[in-house]
Subunit: 382 residues, 2 copies
C-alpha cells in the first residue's frame, strides 16, 4: 500500500471519517433523509484520480489524471500500477481521464480509457481520444485506438471524456467544447461539445442520427453540449442521461437523445466566470431545455442511478457528484421526473468529488480529486 498522506487523513478523521483498518474503528453515522450512512476512506495516495470501474472479481481500476491506472484489491488492500497505458498529455484539465470495463470483460478482457492525446502528426494540439486494451495480469496489451476527437488544437480545457456502455452494447463518449471553440458545439463538422456513439471496436453504428448527413461527423449522437463529464444509463428506460458542466450558473442534467441539440452556447442558464453574458437566452427554438439544472453551479462531475440493495430507499434515484461543496446531489426520481433534491455529504468532506460508482456490494464509491486523492465509500451506518 502506498503511504498515507497525513493531511487528508487528519481532515477526514476530524470529520468522523475513518480509514479502513484492522482495528474496527467505525465512522460517525451521518443522518440523511432516507438512510443513515457512514462515509469511510477505503484507500488514499491516489494522484488526482479521475475515473474508476469495477472488475468482475470485485477489484477496481482507477485512473490517475497524471497518467497511471491503479488496480486496487479490496481484500488484500493492495494497489498495482498497470503497464501499457497510452501516453497522455497531462496539462490543465487534460490527462488520463475515464475508464470503463467491457460488459463482456470475462470473455474479452477489454478495458477502455479516455485521455487527452497529443497530435500524432506532431502539431501542438491535443484532443480527447479513446483506446481499448486487454487486461492481462497487471499489463494492458493489444491496444487499439478506437476514437479520436477532431480537430486537434491547443487548449487545456473541457475534454469531456466520460465513457458509458448502452444496454445494446454501444459505447457513448462525451466530449467538451475545449472552451476556445464553444461555437463548434453547434455544428456537426467536428466532435467538440458532443456526445458520440460508437461500437467498442470503433466502428460507427449505421443507425447513428447523422450518418447520412453530408459534412457531419458520423459518430455524433447529440450536440450543443459544453463539457459533459457525467453519463449514466437510466435503469428503467435504458436512455442515456448526461451531466454537463455549465458556465457560472448553468450545470445541467440532460436526457441525451439522438440528434438533439442541447443549446450550448446559444441557450444557457449560466454566464461566463468573468460575469460576461454568453447568451441572454435560456431557450432557443430547436434546442432542448435541460432536464434539471443548478444555479449556482455545483460543478457536477459524474453520476449514477443507484440500483443496489444496500440502500433500498434510494433505488433508481440519481446521484450526482460535484467538485464544489464536496457534495453529492440525490435526485429522487419517479421515472424520469425529479420530485426532490437532497444534498448529501456537504459538511462531511472537503473533497472535490470527481467520480461516483456503485460497487458490486451495493455501496457507493467516490473519488476525491486531489494530489493525495482517496477512494471513499458510502455504506449503511451500523
Amino acid at each position: 500500500m502506498q503511504s498515507v498522506k497525513p493531511i487528508l487523513s487528519a481532515v477526514l478523521l476530524a470529520l468522523g471519517v475513518t480509514a479502513i483498518s484492522t482495528t474496527a474503528v467505525h465512522a460517525k453515522a451521518i443522518e440523511t433523509q432516507r438512510h443513515n450512512i457512514e462515509l469511510e476512506v477505503v484507500t488514499e495516495g491516489l494522484e488526482y484520480p479521475w475515473g474508476m470501474d469495477f472488475l468482475p472479481d470485485g477489484s477496481v481500476l482507477i485512473t490517475e489524471k497524471t497518467g497511471a491506472v491503479v488496480h486496487y484489491h479490496f481484500d488484500k488492500n493492495e494497489k498495482h500500477t498497470l503497464s501499457g497505458v497510452p501516453e497522455v498529455v497531462y496539462a490543465g484539465q487534460g490527462g488520463l481521464l475515464d475508464i470503463v470495463v467491457d460488459p463482456n470483460f470475462a470473455e474479452n478482457q477489454w478495458v477502455y480509457l479516455s485521455y487527452a492525446e497529443a497530435d500524432p502528426a506532431g502539431g501542438d494540439g491535443q484532443s480527447t481520444a479513446v483506446t481499448r486494451a486487454r487486461l492481462d495480469g497487471h499489463k494492458l496489451v493489444d491496444q487499439e485506438l478506437i476514437f479520436r476527437v477532431a480537430p486537434k488544437f491547443n487548449s487545456r480545457f473541457h475534454f469531456g471524456s466520460r465513457l458509458v456502455f448502452s444496454p445494446e452494447g454501444h459505447l457513448f463518449i462525451t466530449t467538451g467544447d475545449r472552451y476556445h471553440h464553444m461555437d463548434d458545439a453547434q455544428t456537426l463538422d467536428n466532435h467538440d461539445g458532443k456526445i458520440v456513439r460508437i461500437w467498442p471496436d470503433g466502428s460507427v453504428p449505421e443507425d447513428n442520427p447523422f450518418v447520412d448527413q453530408a459534412g457531419a461527423m458520423p459518430e455524433i449522437w447529440s450536440y450543443g453540449h459544453r463539457n459533459v463529464q457525467g453519463a449514466a444509463i437510466h435503469p428503467l428506460t435504458g436512455k442515456l442521461w448526461a451531466a454537463e458542466h455549465g458556465p457560472k450558473g448553468g450545470d445541467e442534467i440532460n436526457i441525451a437523445e439522438a440528434a438533439n441539440n442541447y443549446g450550448w452556447p446559444v441557450a444557457t442558464f449560466g454566464i461566463d466566470y468573468d460575469d460576461s453574458i454568453i447568451s441572454d437566452k435560456t431557450y432557443v427554438e430547436g434546442t432542448v431545455l435541460p432536464h434539471y439544472y443548478w444555479v449556482p453551479s455545483i460543478a457536477i462531475s459524474n453520476m449514477i442511478f443507484y440500483t443496489g440493495d444496500a440502500f433500498p430507499e434510494w433505488k433508481n434515484d440519481l446521484f450526482v457528484a460535484a467538485l464544489r461543496g464536496s457534495q453529492v446531489a440525490r435526485l429522487d426520481l419517479d421515472g424520469d421526473r425529479v420530485m426532490h433534491e437532497e444534498t448529501l455529504l456537504q459538511d462531511d468532506t472537503k473533497a472535490r468529488l470527481r467520480d461516483i460508482a456503485q460497487g458490486p456490494d451495493g455501496f457507493i464509491y467516490l473519488l476525491s480529486d486531489d494530489k493525495n486523492g482517496a477512494l471513499l465509500r458510502i455504506k449503511p451506518a451500523e
Copy 2:
C-alpha cells in the same frame, strides 16, 4: 389608514424594505437568478391576513383570520371593512380563511369566502364551509352557503380552505384532515383530506368522479390529502395544482386529477412533528406520488403560476409561498416538469407568508401572517 405598528416596520426597514410613502424612498434591490427585484410594504395593520383576491377595479379584498374582510384601495391608500361577513370560529388554525372573486364579478358581484363554521345544530364541532355573497359597496349581501365539510367535529387544526376557479367555471375547494381524523382522508364517505369541486351555486357537477359511487360524497374530486392550503390552475394545461402541508418532511405539490388518491396517511415522505412514524412507506400501490416535495418542510401555503409581463423570465413558473423561512420557492417549469428550484426572499423578511397573488399590474403580492400583518409587493428593481 390603520395605525402602522412600529415593530414590523422596524424589522422590514432594517432589511431594506420600505413602506410606500409620498416621499420616494426606494427599497434595496434584491438580486435573484433571473430578475432584480424590490420588496416593499404596501400596507400594514392587517390582523392575521389569510387570503386575498383582486377586483376588476384593481383594488384588493383581504381576509383577516379573526373574522373581517378588508377592502384595500391602492390609489387612495384606504382600507374599508366589509359588513355582512358570516360568523366564523376563530380558534387554532380556524377562522375566516380564503376569498375568491367570481370570474364574472363585473356581471354578478359574487365573492366567495371559506371559513371555520360552527355546528348549526349547536354541537361543539366545526368544519370548513364556503359562503358566497354579493359585494354592494362595502356590504356583503345575498349570502348563500354553498358548501359545508361533513362531518362536523371538534378540532382546531387542518381546515384546508383554499378556493380557486377552474377554467370551465367550477369552484375547487381544498380541505384538510383536521389532524384527528387523518384516516378519513382515505375514505370517500366524508370531506376531510379532500379536494372538492362544485359549481359556484353549490350544485354538484354531474361529471364529478364519484357521483355514481354509493356512499361517496359527490363533491369529491381527489382524496388522500393532509392539509391543502395552496391551489392554482396551470396556465398552459388548465389543470389544478395543489400545495399540501405535509408532516415534518413531507410538503407536497400535486397535480390534482379527478379520482386520484394522493396517499395520505398511508404513504408520505414525512414523519409526525413528535418524530413518530406515520407511515414507513413513501409509495403505496394505487396512490400517486407527489409531483414535487420538500424535505425538510418549509410549510408551504398558497402558490401561483406567474403569467404577467412585469417579470418576463418568470413566465409560467410556479411560485410557492411558505410559512417557514419567510421564503418563496420559484420552481422553473418546462410544461409540468420542474427543472430547477430557486429560493427567493429567504433573508429579506421575517414574515410567515400566508398567501401569494399576482396583481393586475403583474407584480407579485404576499400576505404576512402576523398580528400586525402586511400586504407586501414584489416588483422589478428600478
